[in-house]
């Protein structure tokens, strides 16, 4: 039973446009939500996070939105750049039980 679902395995976006990556979760105990970015043959790199007490966190071109009632979060990248092409993982955790729980990832391709 998947606790974290990223229902879009892949996404293609034109350079300069907005990329929106979605994530749904089922465990209401999750209280801290992280996004990781992964290039081939490299480990995941931490990108941005949001605590459950917030509904938005912004860092440069990256913004994460959290809708706790819907158990849904999304990552917005604007403007998208070719270097953003990677696999993006949603990874929430329950801060009282520390392992990250990863979704299957969404492969983003930004086309120049």
């Amino acid at each position: 039973d998947q606790q974290v679902k990223q229902n879009s395995p892949s996404l293609s976006v034109q350079e300069g446009r907005i990329s929106i990556l979605n994530c749904d979760y089922t465990n209401s105990m999750f209280d801290y939500f992280l996004w990781y970015k992964k290039y081939p043959a490299e480990g995941p790199t931490f990108l941005i996070s949001i605590s459950s007490i917030k509904d938005k966190n912004e860092d440069g071109r990256f913004t994460v939105f959290l809708n706790k009632s819907a158990k849904h979060l999304s990552l917005h990248i604007v403007p998208s750049q070719p270097g953003d092409s990677a696999v993006y993982f949603c990874a929430p955790l329950n801060s009282g039980n520390t392992p990250l729980v990863f979704g299957k990832g969404t492969r983003l391709s930004v086309i120049a």
Binding site: Y36, E42, T98, K104
Partner: protein
């Protein structure tokens, strides 16, 4: 070192052999995690250390898997009597403490023939 270092990067072993995978965390990081990533999947938790104490090993798939971190720094993941289904990328991550973002190494790609 700047980041989490894992060795070897690639390991090929015959079914039934034992393997040992090494992780050097970021200096000063208290928490250390091991994850297993199968092809096309997200990483899945295996085990967690806080300093030298293994606080959670609930993700280890069988008793053939064993992890240690004897001095609270370097960690080794050992797999005994390897089987084909053990083929995966094994990722190590460390963090300053359990509620800080985890920083990942580049992983060890294990292939069991």
């Amino acid at each position: 070192g700047a980041g989490v270092s894992q060795s070897p990067r690639y390991k090929v072993a015959k079914r039934g052999q034992d393997v040992a995978l090494r992780c050097d965390p970021i200096s000063g990081h208290v928490s250390l995690f091991w994850y297993q990533q199968a092809l096309g999947q997200g990483p899945e938790f295996l085990t967690y250390f806080q300093n030298e104490a293994q606080l959670d090993k609930s993700g280890l798939p069988s008793d053939r898997f064993f992890a240690e971190r004897p001095e609270g720094s370097v960690s080794t993941l050992k797999i005994q009597r390897t089987q084909q289904e053990d083929s995966a990328v094994y990722l190590c991550a460390s963090s300053l403490d359990s509620n800080q973002p985890q920083h990942f190494g580049d992983g060890t790609r294990l292939s069991i023939l």
